[in-house]
């Protein structure tokens, strides 16, 4: 048998590791700033670029796609080469992938603070960046599949299946959810409206967690955990079973983010049922990870890498048990929109993704630098800072979530809300938010010790950029033998394997999405619901720019506690038919705004935006003084209306041509009304458009209450 000599590319692994560390610092710092802003509004720093609504997506994108994303590529490029006994397929593709991904991150870091956003959670980036993401993702996939095809190992180890499933599913999710019609180079409207947009978004959002934050990490767990523990995975058979059931079941569960919304009931029930079933494959992965450490607990005591794996995998188990529980309708009724969800997410992000990333960095860096870690003691310090950080983060958030959920729903014996004032409940939980940011600070300081330790380790070693290796060439004639089991055959055929994995996720995705997207009767229309006026549409775009939906929902659930609190009917599917994109939000840091239209006079909104504490003492909302000084850009009005018309919003050509005329007329009316109240405001300012939108939200249904199906 011919032995072939080749080199592993370690330089690309190092590059992704450095990128992950650099953006980890940025992402965590921005997160810390956002956390502080939630009890100290002055931390918004008085300018629009650092206000909460704009930096919240910056934080989530930086953590998910920059910190975790680069860590995924680091782990995949390291393990894939070794599991395939081959160098990456193409150095050029590796380089394009690396720099392309960093370019995307830089674009995100520039556009998000500028308020250039699609407003769809974890998919905020505008259309040119979406296209770039798709291209670079394909480069990654081509490089990976190319490597698998030229491998020198007959079978594909379980880690590789997870990598393949990650690649194909993220591609499908990203493309379907990013369907949008451009208005200009940096502005687009979602192709879907209202309920349909919400369904597609949360099908994406849920599965981004599944296939970006879970499957690649499970794959890496199956490689790095056995390596670090020095023993094979507990059960390879279990890994086969849980892989296929995980990818099949995950894709259905998205609607559990939309319980008690106007999404059709059957879709909600489907989401709940599949979420419960998901416990089985998720725990299959967790058990397999933890039991790999069986009989090696003495090693776990001395080896901080294994400690990180143990706590990380446990956090995965906790989060994947909690997720299905949160998907139960009765639990969801209390937990949704509260800090509980923030706690849940961070157990996953800080525990599972964070600790596994740290463990991989500590494992990989000394090996590719041909040295040992600079300080094991410091690794232990990091482990404890991270673990304590998670506890100080999660426990206050759970406490706060319960408090919010229960206080929002509490009725007094006479049948009125016990706490009708939303702000009173917010003030109640501020100490818990302070504790949470302390937890974040602990976690972040632990991360700084990693960076110091890694820099020192890199300094004492030298990068083995091309690591020599050798393996026998793979002879095609011996590939398939008689009597091979079918899964073993599948493991030798990456393309067939990938097609089967795509089929698995398409089945669930199609059944979930297609009926709501195509069957008209799923969205009963309401005849009094009309398209937004040009000024309101501009105001809505300001709402999107400022990220108001990060803290305010537009989604009154069918509970008496909510119809009472928000003084109006619960939200109906037909109310959102012209909402490209939907703006339901997912978190109530402030009150719901579905029925805010007409609730307060225009002047109240003006004073509130100028400084929320003027009208609501103790409010934690940022001031938006720039809306009062900035002139509304009306150059795009016509283009915006035209784009909406193309998407099916019934604007007439005449309405479009006269867009700015009617915009100015409405603005003039609002401004003169406020001038009579003694507020000196000009009609061409942004605040006028925002007020016009706020006063419109959810009011159409009041005009006429006939529902036609």
């Amino acid at each position: 048998m011919q032995i072939e000599k080749f080199n592993y590319d370690n330089k690309i692994v190092r590059n992704f590791a450095i990128a992950s560390m650099v953006f980890g610092v940025v992402g965590m710092l921005v997160g810390l700033l956002a956390a502080i802003q939630l009890y100290a509004p002055a931390a918004n720093l008085g300018n629009q670029f650092t206000s909460f609504g704009r930096i919240r997506p910056l934080h989530t994108n930086a953590i998910i796609f920059a910190f975790v994303g680069n860590a995924i590529f680091m782990g995949v490029y390291y393990s894939l080469q070794r599991l395939c006994k081959a160098r990456m397929f193409s150095d050029l593709l590796s380089t394009i992938h690396f720099w392309g991904w960093q370019l995307i991150i830089v674009c995100a870091a520039i556009t998000l603070p500028l308020g250039i956003t699609s407003s769809k959670e974890y998919a905020e980036l505008e259309w040119p960046i979406d296209i770039l993401i798709a291209l670079i993702w394909v480069v990654f996939g081509a490089n990976m599949i190319g490597t698998i095809i030229k491998r020198r190992e007959k079978q594909m180890y379980v880690a590789i299946w997870f990598y393949l499933a990650t690649f194909v599913t993220v591609a499908v999710l990203h493309i379907v959810n990013s369907m949008e019609l451009p208005v200009s180079f940096l502005k687009s409207y979602s192709a879907y409206a209202g309920v349909q947009d919400a369904l597609v978004q949360w099908w994406y959002g849920h599965n981004a967690v599944a296939f970006f934050l879970t499957t690649p990490f499970l794959g890496m767990m199956y490689y790095f955990l056995p390596k670090a523990a020095g023993r094979p995975v507990y059960s390879y058979k279990l890994s086969i079973l849980h892989f296929w059931s995980l990818i099949f079941l995950y894709i259905w569960a998205g609607p559990h983010h939309l319980l008690y919304s106007s999404l059709p009931d059957w879709a909600q029930s489907l989401g709940v049922a599949f979420s419960i079933m998901l416990i089985a494959p998720s725990w299959g992965g967790m058990i397999n990870g933890l039991l790999t450490l069986r009989g090696a607990w003495d090693k776990v005591r001395d080896e901080p890498i294994l400690k990180m794996f143990a706590v990380g995998v446990t956090a995965y188990g906790m989060a994947t048990f909690e997720g299905p529980m949160l998907a139960l309708k009765n639990v969801n009724a209390i937990a949704h929109f509260t800090d509980w969800i923030v706690g849940h997410v961070h157990v996953g992000a800080l525990g599972w993704n964070g600790l596994l990333t740290f463990a991989m960095i500590y494992w990989i860096i000394p090996r590719i630098f041909n040295t040992t870690i600079y300080s094991k003691k410091l690794m232990n310090v990091h482990f404890w800072l991270a673990t304590l950080g998670i506890l100080f983060y999660a426990i206050p958030m759970y406490w706060s979530g319960f408090t919010q959920g229960l206080m929002w729903k509490e009725f007094s014996p006479d049948g009125t809300l016990q706490y009708p004032e939303f702000l009173k409940i917010t003030v109640q939980i501020l100490p818990l938010h302070m504790l949470r940011s302390f937890g974040g600070l602990l976690y972040f300081s632990g991360f700084l010790t990693l960076i110091y330790n890694v820099v020192k380790t890199m300094g004492q070693g030298k990068l083995v950029a091309n690591e020599p290796a050798e393996a026998p060439a793979l002879e095609k004639s011996t590939m398939f033998q008689k009597g091979d089991f079918w899964h073993a055959v599948l493991e030798k055929k990456p393309v067939t394997f990938t097609i089967l994995a795509i089929a698995m996720i398409i089945v669930g995705g199609a059944v979930e999405l297609i009926p709501t997207l195509t069957i008209k009767s799923n969205i009963p229309t309401i005849s009094s619901v009309k398209p937004y006026s040009p000024l309101e549409l501009q105001g809505r775009d300001l709402y999107i720019r400022e990220g108001c939906n990060a803290c305010h929902t537009q989604w009154v659930r069918p509970f008496r506690s909510e119809t009472e609190r928000y003084q109006g009917e619960y939200s109906k599917a037909g109310e959102f038919v012209y909402d490209h994109p939907f703006l339901w939000g997912s978190k109530r840091t402030g009150p719901d705004l579905m029925r805010v239209g007409g609730k307060y006079p225009d002047g109240w909104h003006y004073n509130h935006m100028l400084n929320p504490r003027n009208v609501s003492p103790g409010s934690i909302m940022p001031a938006y003084q720039w809306l009062i000084s900035q002139t509304l850009d009306i150059s795009m009005t016509e283009a915006k209306l035209k784009t909406m018309q193309k998407l099916g919003v019934p604007y007439t050509n005449e309405e479009i041509a006269n867009g700015n005329v009617s915009l100015k007329a409405q603005a003039e009316k609002i401004a003169s009304g406020m001038q009579k109240e003694g507020i000196a405001v000009e009609s061409d300012k942004e605040i006028i458009a925002l007020i016009a939108y706020l006063q419109r939200i959810g009011t159409d249904i009041k005009k006429q209450n006939t529902v036609s199906n």
């Binding site: 180890y157 489907l270 020599p468 290796a469 089945v507 009926p515 069957i519 009767s521 009963p524």
Partner: protein, 58 residues
């Protein structure tokens, strides 16, 4: 909400069909996993440790 359910009766067909596909696949997988060749499983389990390669540090 009943109005939605009534109008999407076709859903049941989709749902049952896809569950049948998955359950069949899963059962096939289960049977295969239990019948799988021990040597093959052992070989797969040890794949990350393959020491044909000089520089695989473990």
């Amino acid at each position: 909400m009943k109005q939605f359910l009534g109008s999407v009766t076709g859903m049941n067909g989709y749902l049952i069909f896809s569950m049948i596909i998955f359950i069949t696949f899963f059962l096939g997988l289960l049977v295969w996993v239990f019948k799988a060749d021990k040597k093959y499983i052992e070989e797969m389990e040890n794949m990350p440790f393959d020491n044909n390669i000089k520089n695989d540090n473990i």
